[in-house]
């Protein structure tokens, strides 16, 4: 357990020694900031109009008009940025050959994966943590509901974790960081978009497509609804990809 912490510490530091963490966090905040500003302006225009037109008043809801689209957009932006965080996790170690040395220390394969996973999660939590400034601004300006904010962040964290696990898996597959990032991005985008086509596919296949869609499961969190199946989806998919990463690490026996 201690070794996982030491690995976490080393990996976490290395994110900030290179410009990766700064670039990823900054771009994430700029894009999310833009979405927040856009929705805030839209909300203020709508609330002004609602002052003159009482029929509009029921549809002017701060959570529905600002926070829900913001969470969805943040989730979508993560699809682009998480691959940049995870691409080097194992690829770089493989390319430099440091994985061989790391695995010769008294630490298990699972310990190595856990240390690296928690470090990338740490960076992600920092990025998401800074975005809490948006709800704080809303609390200053109005009275948003707390429940959907908590569920939205819970959804973002869970979805982020599953994204990280997919990224770490692809990073373990190749020593080329570009390939790792591209494969992660492609997979995440596919599983995000797959839900859109589910409405055109009838029967069981449509249901399956809807069930494996990252977006559909996240949508409930953004709405403020926490459903066990959505929680299980993210937890199980994360565990599957971590398990696959472990298998890839053990396969070094054949590749060496």
């Amino acid at each position: 357990m201690k070794n996982i912490f030491f690995l976490f510490k080393k990996e976490f530091k290395s994110y900030f020694v290179s410009p990766i963490a700064y670039v990823v966090i900054s771009i994430f905040l700029v894009i999310c900031g833009y979405f927040f500003y856009r929705d805030l302006v839209y909300f203020s225009i709508l609330s002004l109009q609602a002052g003159y037109d009482s029929s509009l008043q029921s549809s002017v809801n701060i959570n529905e008009l600002i926070l829900r689209p913001l969470f969805s957009n943040m989730g979508f932006v993560l699809i682009f940025l998480v691959p940049l965080l995870t691409m080097r996790v194992f690829s770089e170690e493989k390319k430099l050959g440091t994985l061989e040395l790391l695995l010769s220390y008294p630490v298990s394969d699972i310990g190595v994966i856990a240390g690296k996973f928690t470090a990338s999660l740490g960076v992600l939590l920092i990025a998401l943590g800074i975005t809490s400034v948006f709800p704080i601004i809303l609390f200053i300006l109005g009275e948003p509901e707390t429940g959907p904010i908590i569920s939205g962040y819970l959804g973002l964290i869970l979805m982020g974790i599953s994204f990280l696990c997919v990224g770490i898996f692809f990073s373990a597959l190749t020593e080329n960081q570009i390939i790792a990032a591209t494969a992660t991005f492609g997979t995440l985008l596919l599983f995000w978009a797959i839900g859109w086509s589910s409405i055109f596919v009838p029967g069981t296949l449509g249901k399956i497509l809807s069930e494996i869609s990252i977006f559909n499961h996240f949508n409930n969190f953004a709405k403020g609804i926490i459903v066990t199946s959505d929680l299980s989806f993210y937890i199980i998919s994360s565990l599957i990809f971590l398990y696959l990463t472990n298998i890839i690490l053990q396969q070094r026996a054949w590749k060496s």
Partner: protein, 313 residues
Amino acid sequence: MIKVEGLTKYYGQIRGIEDVTFTIKEGEIVGLLGPNGAGKTTTMRILTCLFPPTRGKAEIAGLNILENPIEVKKLIGYLPETTPLYLDMSVLSYLMFVAEIKGIKRKDRKRKVEEVVEVCGIENVKRRLIGKLSKGYKQRVGLAQALLGNPPVLILDEPTIGLDPKQTFEFRQLIKDMQGKRTIILSTHILPEVSMTCQRVIIINKGKIIAQDTPDNLAFQLQKSYKICAKIEGPPEKIVERLKDIEGIKDIKVEKKIDDKKFEYVINAENLNIAKDIASCTVKSGWGLFEIRPLSMGLEDIFVNLVTEEKTE
């Protein structure tokens, strides 16, 4: 300290090593010698628990590498072939990380890191980024991480590759100084390195051990007779003819001409005592004897001989 029995490793259909068996005593320095692709690195990687063998077993200090990999790793300091290091870390922060992950107690970490920094001569570069260091210093950092935690077993894969002659000399001295204190397996294809640092040699070729003994014993086993070198002044035809008559001399040939009258001869004899008879015969015949000495087989000869024998078979 290290016991390896029937160790076999196949990468799919390709044989890495087969039926490798050896034991290494505590404090012994053993050279693992072989041409490229012989299976040296595979053997070392199995011993460091990097991957399991297909068959066979290996024990370090009585611990099975498959049953107790974490405990085994605690006993080993490993320096891989290419000295892979984290280039974006400073020497000190990297060694501190290694000290942490090797389980060195918090209060001892700094002191132990400083100790290996001093032993490996990297004091003047300890605050620099590893990526900015020369190959020689990187190699020293690699050795420093292997020595951290004072592991009783050191596994060094081609440790002097890329070092300049001075660094190589210092490195070999460092290894020699550890004799009796640590058990060391050192893989190399630089033969003088083995002669200088190792007490015993394991020669491996095409995944199989073809010989293991001290360099001297290997030389005798291969030569199957003793060689004597003599520098004699006199007519070479007559000298060869006369010396051939001495009992116990199997063969004699003129090795090289030193000057118009002086020649060097290599004599194959049943034992080294025959040198006395050669000296006596030469003097009695009125020829000048300038030098007579036993000729031992160098490690290069042993290695080439063994590997060539293997190929012929």
